[in-house]
């Protein structure tokens, strides 16, 4: 059996809840985030941004800005080496426009000056001559054949006729005979749903500090979900060797997918190169909203057929996403995950992506899945209501399980959806009484989870403690999880392991902290690195004892003779092996490098109660329960935190959050006052139920847990809303004016 395959075992440390190693720093203000780094001689960088949704830049005159005392560098998109290609060129042009401003807030120039005031004055001295072009900011208009074209030459090769050249992507998934399926249905419902673009809403604005020397070598400190990715993108854009740029990830103040790419980092490098001094560049909140990626907005048609006893006979969806002014691939997971919770004989999900004059979308927690799932789960719920069926019974009747051919192709291995639905049905929340103007909604959710390139090094120090070096920024306690897995495997105390997130010069490549991959993939590599160190420690003990290495086993932090034939030797503690290591062959380090596969998909089921004020349309979330399969919860408190945080982001998406663009193509609510994320007084307790259906592809059974929690809330709340006000609303957010309108129109 391969080591990465799941083996049932009793754990000593896994499943406990020790304090995270970065905890004290984070409650005392000592932790250093992206904007908390300072260097001698450091300059302040600022960006000039387009006020227009779409405009040709006829000329930029930076001479007056350059002449201002205290200004050390002024750059435009033309100053980047013209070497980036393909997707990287898109990223570069999103950072700094080249010839055309493609959205309100698109950066067109940047300055570095001795202080913020001088930098701001310099921005005012830059003269940009714009030729305003027609713009389009919403899906319905962007896909029409006569729409203003955001970028020519981007039409996707599979896009059907009848759509504009803004349409960059088309995909289709599914199997079976749809029309035969619909013919078997007793009831078919077809509806169109819309969701607004929402922002990840991390509290820490993007920030970086770049320091490039005249020799072309550079260091950078930044808040990111993946500093190796930052290094590789910046190196390509700046035409540097990857080895010439060392990137250190700061503590990160939230990412949720939004910090998986670069927005300012190449610009800071370019400014530092021109000025010959370190440059700190920090986005304002206005810039974060306008120019870092929100998630896609959507418009989805769903058609589902059901028999009178609740069997789904066919499901069909056309999912349209807009993701800003450059192509993106979020439509793929959107279409793949739409029906992934169901065992269907006939299913089809088609996806269409269109360009708009908005910032390029960035990943947001299970990117693409919440929008399409919302539409499907809302129609399933309506069918349940119309046919008088219990919504959990119907989901159980149609639930995907081991052996189901998924709607996106492969056959499922062990998955936990049925157990989750059964737990939801048995949960006291599901049978609790409801009062007037109150309603209950439920929804399934699915997400893939990823693995990816991973490199980990585990050093045995001479005192027997462990330094674990990994390369993925810690967003929600992953250093604790890694320390726990290393300690479990080595049989030593959690406190004996210190886990460090190393810079890009210290390890092989590590894929971005995304796709709920870290506890799975870095955990896998940590366990294997620990096993490598254990094997070496056994070899050292064997040498000391003068016996064969395979006659030594590792148990609870000790090397021990494997059996009576190995001879009489007192168990040798890790501390002694460590202390002797200089004389038994040298330092002991276990390491592991892998492209991890076998992440194991994850499901969640949410139950939600709301109360709607019929006078104002205001919705109060009364009670919320999240049930999710974690495979194996390494640190249950931090798993719960992921489930709660994801649910609350989904609640915000369902009820309040939206990008609002005016007729002029400008973003009207680029601030936390007008883009309202949930606050403490909006919310009830978020109850959690962790189920553990082990992932066969991880030695401890771990599945990713970070993303799935944001998938069900959109439909759970929408379904609760429908059952409360008696109207099927089909657009998010269900803000008070929209709810009031729906109530009034119903009469």
């Amino acid at each position: 059996m391969a080591l990465d395959e799941y083996q049932k075992r009793d754990f000593k440390i896994i499943g406990t809840t020790p304090v995270r190693p970065d905890g004290v720093d984070k409650v005392t203000g000592r932790a250093q985030y992206g904007a908390d780094f300072y260097l001698p001689g450091m300059l302040v960088g600022k960006m000039l941004r387009s006020p227009h949704a779409h405009a040709r830049i006829k000329s930029i005159d930076v001479s007056a800005a350059k002449a201002l005392p205290g200004v050390k560098a002024v750059v435009t998109g033309a100053d980047f080496p013209a070497t980036a290609k393909g997707d990287t060129l898109d990223v570069q042009e999103h950072c700094l426009a080249n010839g055309v401003a493609l959205y309100d807030g698109h950066a067109v120039a940047a300055v570095a000056a001795v202080d913020a005031n001088v930098a701001k004055q310099a921005l005012k001295l830059i003269k940009v001559d714009y030729e305003i072009l027609p713009h389009v900011t919403n899906i319905e208009d962007a896909i029409k054949p006569d729409a203003p074209i955001v970028q020519a030459g981007r039409r996707g090769r599979h896009v059907p006729e009848g759509y504009s050249d803004n349409c960059t992507g088309w995909c289709e998934f599914g199997h079976g005979d749809l029309e035969a399926g619909f013919a078997k249905a007793d009831k078919i419902i077809t509806r169109t749903f819309k969701t607004s673009s929402t922002h990840q809403g991390y509290i820490e604005p993007n920030a970086c500090l770049a320091n490039m020397g005249a020799d072309g070598r550079a260091d950078m400190w930044c808040c990111t979900q993946g500093h190796f990715q930052v290094r590789n993108l910046c190196a390509q854009i700046m035409d540097m060797d990857q080895s010439a740029l060392r990137v250190t990830a700061s503590e990160i103040g939230g990412g949720f997918g939004g910090k998986t790419t670069v927005f300012i980092e190449p610009v800071a490098l370019l400014l530092s190169q021109k000025a010959g001094l370190p440059v700190k560049l920090v986005m304002t909140r206005d810039e974060v909203f306008k120019a870092s990626g929100p998630t896609v907005a959507s418009m989805t048609d769903v058609r589902i057929g059901m028999t009178n006893d609740g069997k789904i006979t066919a499901g069909d969806a056309l999912i349209r996403y807009e993701g800003g002014a450059w192509p993106n691939s979020t439509i793929f997971p959107g279409a793949q995950s739409a029906f992934a919770s169901y065992d269907l004989e006939a299913v089809r999900a088609q996806g269409l992506n269109t360009l708009t004059n908005r910032p390029l979308q960035a990943a947001y927690r299970a990117p693409g899945a919440p929008q399409s799932t919302y539409a499907v789960e809302a129609v399933v719920d309506e069918l349940c209501e119309v046919l008088g069926l219990d919504p959990i019974d119907v989901r159980l009747k149609n639930a995907a399980q081991k052996g189901t051919k998924s709607s996106y192709g492969p056959t499922y291995d062990d998955i936990g959806l049925i157990q989750l639905l059964e737990a939801a049905k048995a949960h006291p929340h599901y049978s609790a009484p409801l009062g007037p103007n109150q309603g209950r909604g439920i929804s399934n959710g699915f997400w893939f989870n990823f693995g990816g390139e991973t490199s980990v090094s585990l050093a045995l120090n001479f005192d027997g403690t462990i330094t674990l070096v990994e390369g993925n920024p810690d967003i929600g306690g992953s250093r604790a999880a890694m320390s726990m897995m290393a300690a479990e495997e080595l049989g030593i105390a959690y406190e004996k392991v210190r886990t460090i997130v190393a810079d890009t010069a210290s390890l092989g490549h590590n894929e971005v902290t995304h796709g709920s991959r870290v506890t799975f993939a870095v955990g896998l590599a940590t366990i294997k690195a620990a096993r490598a160190a254990k094997a070496e420690m056994c070899r050292r003990a064997a040498k000391i004892w003068g016996i064969d290495a395979d006659a030594v086993v590792w148990e609870d932090g000790f090397a021990k003779p494997a059996g009576a034939n190995a001879g009489e030797h007192d168990p040798m503690p890790i501390e002694k092996i460590a202390a002797d290591s200089p004389r038994t062959g040298g330092p002991i380090v276990g390491h592991h490098e892998v492209t991890a596969d076998g992440a194991g998909v994850s499901f969640g089921v949410h139950i939600c109660d709301i109360e709607v004020d019929p006078e104002t349309g205001f919705t109060k979330v009364l009670r919320y329960t999240v049930l999710q399969d974690a495979g194996k919860a390494i640190h249950p408190d931090y798993v719960e935190g992921q489930m709660q945080g994801g649910a609350v982001q989904g609640i915000g998406w369902a009820l309040n959050e939206e990008y609002i663009y005016g007729e002029d193509g400008r973003l009207q609510n680029a601030g936390f006052l007008d883009y309202r994320i949930p606050v403490a007084s909006d919310l009830p307790k978020i109850d959690t139920v962790i189920l553990e259906i082990p992932n066969p592809g991880h030695p401890y059974g771990v599945r990713g847990v970070g993303e799935t929690g944001i998938v069900p809330p959109l439909a759970a709340i929408s379904n609760a809303m429908s059952r409360t006000i008696g109207v099927r609303m089909a657009e998010l957010p269900m803000s008070p004016p929209r709810v009031l309108k729906a109530i009034k129109e119903k009469g």
Binding site: G29, R30, I203, G253, G254, V282, P678, V679, S681, I686
Partner: protein, 158 residues
């Protein structure tokens, strides 16, 4: 433009600094004094990540002009622990896993401490409304509320 000379007390230490007339207290704390525990999440008083107390009153330091703090007493997250001994709120935040990314944590701790000084026995609803000016995007607030309620109980000797 000549700079203003300000004398103030920060976490009990007399502190002098020079600032421009339009500089915020947050800018001075971070960029001049390198007390970076207070964070800038918005710069407009909407997120609470820069919370400090000014003469005992909870404020967003991004909305206070540094020049206004002449003679004032300022308390920041850096002054919350007593040397190596954490404040009960800090300890309970760790025990209850009340932080994920941690960037809002300093502001929330400062705000919670200010509440408990005024009201040592808040209801959960009072606490949720008091903290409504401190945005957290990671946790859904659940564990933050648990941590503060537990710290309040401990501080009351309950």
């Amino acid at each position: 433009m000549s700079k203003l000379h300000i004398t103030t007390s920060i976490n009990g230490d007399q502190t002098e600094f020079l600032c421009n007339s339009d500089e915020s207290l947050l800018d001075v704390l971070r960029d001049r004094l390198h007390l970076t525990g207070a964070k800038e999440g918005c710069g407009s008083g909407d997120c609470g990540a820069c919370s400090v107390t000014l003469n005992g009153r909870l404020v967003c330091s991004c909305l206070v002009l540094a020049a206004e703090t002449e003679g004032a007493e300022i308390a920041t997250i850096e002054g919350m622990a007593d040397g190596e001994k954490l404040h009960p709120l800090q300890r309970k935040f760790l025990e209850h896993a009340a932080l994920q990314c941690g960037v809002c944590t300093p502001g929330i701790l400062v705000a919670a401490k200010a509440l408990l000084e005024k009201n040592p026995d808040p209801t959960e609803t009072e606490l949720r409304y008091w903290l409504a000016g401190n945005l957290c995007r990671c946790t859904g607030y659940d564990k933050i509320i648990n941590a503060v309620m537990d710290a309040a109980a401990e501080m009351r000797g309950a």
